[in-house]
């Protein structure tokens, strides 16, 4: 594989959604690792219509803010919506979007797993 082909391959790959890729063509071998952007917990979001689900970035214990979020409350992008306590460290979970709290899906002190839905936000509303 020449340099140009290699560059083309990388450009093509850039358009795809992957974290780890291993490509084998005869003697040619290419292994690529990309940071899993879905795990960046400030951007942890999954759109479902215009409702965004904020998911837990890690396993731990969910703690609400000092003034707990209420359904109907307005949140801005980057605002702390709660904390996950894991191995005695408190990790802030921030809102990936601006909007209105649609549902709060877990309680203060509750055990949450990685990727567990915490809060739903209706974007822009």
């Amino acid at each position: 594989m020449n340099e140009q082909q290699l560059k083309q391959l990388i450009t093509d790959l850039a358009a795809l959604d992957f974290v780890h890729a291993k490509i084998k063509l005869d003697d040619f071998e290419l292994e690529l690792e990309r940071p899993d952007t879905t795990s960046q917990f400030t951007q942890q979001k999954q759109t479902r219509g215009d409702v965004i689900v904020v998911k837990s970035p890690m396993i731990g214990i969910f703690h609400v803010n000092e003034e707990p979020l209420q359904v109907g409350q307005r949140v801005e992008t980057g605002m702390t919506v709660g904390q996950i306590e894991s191995m005695k460290l408190f990790n802030e979970v921030t809102s990936p979007a601006s909007g209105v709290v649609e549902r709060v899906l877990c309680e203060d002190g509750q055990t949450v797993e990685y990727d567990q839905p915490l809060i739903e936000i209706r974007e822009g509303a």
């Binding site: 974290v19 899993d36 396993i59 894991s86 191995m87 055990t111 990685y114 990727d115």
Partner: protein, 443 residues
Amino acid sequence: MFKKILIANRGEIACRIMASCRQLNIRTVAVYSTADRAAQFVQMADEAYCIGPAASSESYLNREGILMAGILAHVDAVHPGYGFLAEDALFAQMCAQCGITWLGPQPKLISLMGDKAAARKFAASRGIAIIPGTYVLEDIEQLQQSARKMGYPLLIKASQGGGGKGIRIVNHPDELESQLMVAKRETDSAFGSTAIYLEKVLKNARHIEVQVIGDQDGRILVLGDRDCTMQIRRQKVIEESPASFITAAQRRELVVAVHRLLDGVGYQGLGTVEFLFSEDRFYFLEMNTRLQVEHGVTETTTGLDIVMLQLQLASREARLGHQVPEGQGVAIECRLNMTGATGENRLTKFEFPRDVRVDTGYASGDQVPTYYDALLAKIIVVAPTHRQAVEKMQATLAQVEVTGVATNLTLLRQIVATNWYLNGKFSVQTLDERLKNDKSFAN
């Protein structure tokens, strides 16, 4: 006895460990990545926690996440299985700091054996033959000088490697310098260390290993030996227990060597001491401080459940005997591996004869994640003699049916049908050579 154990692993070995826990009425906790949500081991566990995304660096290697699951579930011990964090001294230490029993040896022994050059030095200091070579050398001139003395071909090995990883072969003096550079760069990115050493390539070497177990007081017992010579690019494919092609005297020699290596060092839990056997001599290769993939062949011939024994010893509810267990018959294991991803990668058919032991983490209909190791199943047969065991494996593999995922099944069938396999006329390199030179072999 422990009440609840977290298994810091996935797939077949997680299922295997849970089976022993059940026998002892221990509750089990699985931790899993988002790619394994539907996996057998998650369903089999009494409790399961998702700890991270598919990438193992953030899930099965996520020490904090795994420990947090252990704390939330109130487990009293962690079993690491093999791979992932099984030989991670830091994780072992962290478990202890959280008041959770680590089912393995002390962190300092994990570190010692994990550093392959240090382990060589340690073995030599205990009077065990090591493969001719060097200790860690930084200076290129020293390396060249040593290489001249050793002769070619030789191997450049990463000290933090092991298990057939981090090895480069040098066939000619002209290649040495460039290969050293490549090796250093590779080991730096793979293991975060540039420590390398040189080792001679032994002629017609066989891979023979010894299963050991240590109690809480560090008293060790040999549980048997295995022949794992059949390898592709230094990865084991077929294993056998006991090793059929060594004599009773050689077997005794191995037991003596293992005791010389481990007596008095305080080794706890399961471990395997690996040797290369060349021109009638054993050379220490490395030690794995954990449960091994191929432990099942030793269990099949000895009748022991070595995971159960490990749990009983760790909780001081059993005592070790003094005798190497008398094995019965010969057991052979074939590793059925996935050889490439195909579309959905779903096991539309995954069937094995019922009269043999099959260790697997999958069932018919399961999708196989491509993020982790390629092992689909371990097929284990036992018969009174080596020849009969080979015949049984031939008959067994003929009945195995796997569709939906590309596997090495055809290759396994071809190997067990050859005369050189039946008669033990092969070395660790034979299969690679056959695959290169004999086009009739499935690759």
